[in-house]
């Protein structure tokens, strides 16, 4: 447990110092402010489509930090030094998942508030959006981390990461955007299920990917 805390706090500190934390927030706000220019200032149209558009923005924002999640530490030998100490790669990925979500999920949920205001979303939609993001951002973080472990060490890994992650993110987008027009809460439960699955497999799949990439 202490090990997990040490690793996660280092990862969070590294993300903070690299100022990579601002990237997803700035991206979300930029997309939200560009969207009305593209579709026109029609209030009903913005209200009806804005929530789903913010989900797409959140999904794409989750791909931005992918190339700094694993590759720099792999190249600097940090992952090898951790492995030398008998700490499993699964533990490394789990710690990184916690740190990555803390640096990605809550800031994104915060940025959604001004973004929703830009699109004139109503109160109920904003609540559903925030609830959906609370449940869905762990999955987005896990997915980003998973493709980061798979593509670390490859050239032009950023583009490849996008191609790998987007098909896997389709269920998250369907259920996530589905929560907005769904009064029964079923979509939120499906989103939670997909999120749980991704969060549960990422430490193991990511750990195996790091081990396989060690040479």
């Amino acid at each position: 447990m202490r090990m997990l805390w040490l690793l996660a706090s280092r990862d969070l500190g590294a993300a903070w110092r690299s100022s990579g934390l601002w990237l997803p927030i700035a991206f979300l706000l930029l997309v939200a402010s560009l969207y009305p220019f593209a579709v026109g200032p029609d209030l009903t149209l913005l209200r009806r489509t804005g929530g789903g558009m913010l989900w797409i923005a959140a999904l794409l924002a989750s791909l931005l930090p992918v190339d700094r999640l694993i590759a720099p530490d792999r190249d600097a030998g940090v992952l090898d030094q951790i492995a030398l100490r008998g700490i499993s790669d699964e533990m490394v990925v789990l710690a990184r998942l916690i740190a990555h979500w803390l640096g990605f999920g809550p800031p994104l949920m915060l940025a959604t508030l001004p973004a929703a205001a830009l699109l004139k979303l109503d109160g109920g939609t904003i609540w559903m959006l925030e609830a959906g993001l609370l449940v869905g951002t762990p999955a987005l973080a896990a997915l980003g981390l998973l493709v980061a472990t798979l593509t670390a060490g490859l050239r032009s890994s950023g583009a490849l990461a996008g191609l790998l992650a987007l098909p896997l993110a389709v269920p998250l987008l369907i259920f996530g955007a589905g929560t907005l027009g769904d009064g029964s809460g079923a979509a939120l439960k499906y989103l939670a299920a997909a999120s749980l699955l991704l969060v549960a497999i990422t430490p193991f799949a990511g750990g195996a990917a790091i081990r396989a990439g060690r040479e």
Binding site: L6, R10, R17, A76, D80, Q81, L84, R85, G86, R214
Partner: protein, 203 residues
Amino acid sequence: MSGAGLHLSDVACLRGGRMLFRGVSLSLNAGASALLTGPNGVGKSSLLRLCAGLLPAFSGTIKRTGAVALADERLALDSELPLARALDFWARLDDSADGAVAAALNAMTLAPLADVPVRMLSTGQRKRAMLARVIASGAPIWLLDEPGNGLDTASLDLLGAAVAAHLAAGGIVVTASHQPLPLGAPVTLSLTDHLPDPAEWDA
């Protein structure tokens, strides 16, 4: 540190579909050291990674008693952090004694640079910082890959003193080096003696 040991028996290494060496045996107990020699590409770094457990051996067995510290070509220190804090992360992970980092910095005369960000260090200073990381780890088995590269004469003496102190304390040092280092009476292992027989391998 007594009781540390590193024992390789009949180890072969296969990398990228190519047999690098085979039949390597080495037995080191507390206070012993080994020097790996051979031309570039013969597999010295691979053998160190095998000893560290980062690579699986193709055949043979490797038995380690005690923790391992590895210094290869990669610094593994956070470049944005001040040197002392970057070293402190590893010391905390290793549960090193209080003051281990300060002592390691002193041993490598890096104490005046403790507050300098790692990215500002020169090549030789980075190498010394890496050795400080190894010293601070408190691990009995040191694996040093070309530890003398980029070090000036004074720093080489520091490295020699650190290695000698480690061996005197019952540690084990395996180094791949082109420079003469005060390793006591090292077991010299020339990997050119362990090249695979091409005929046998092609068959």
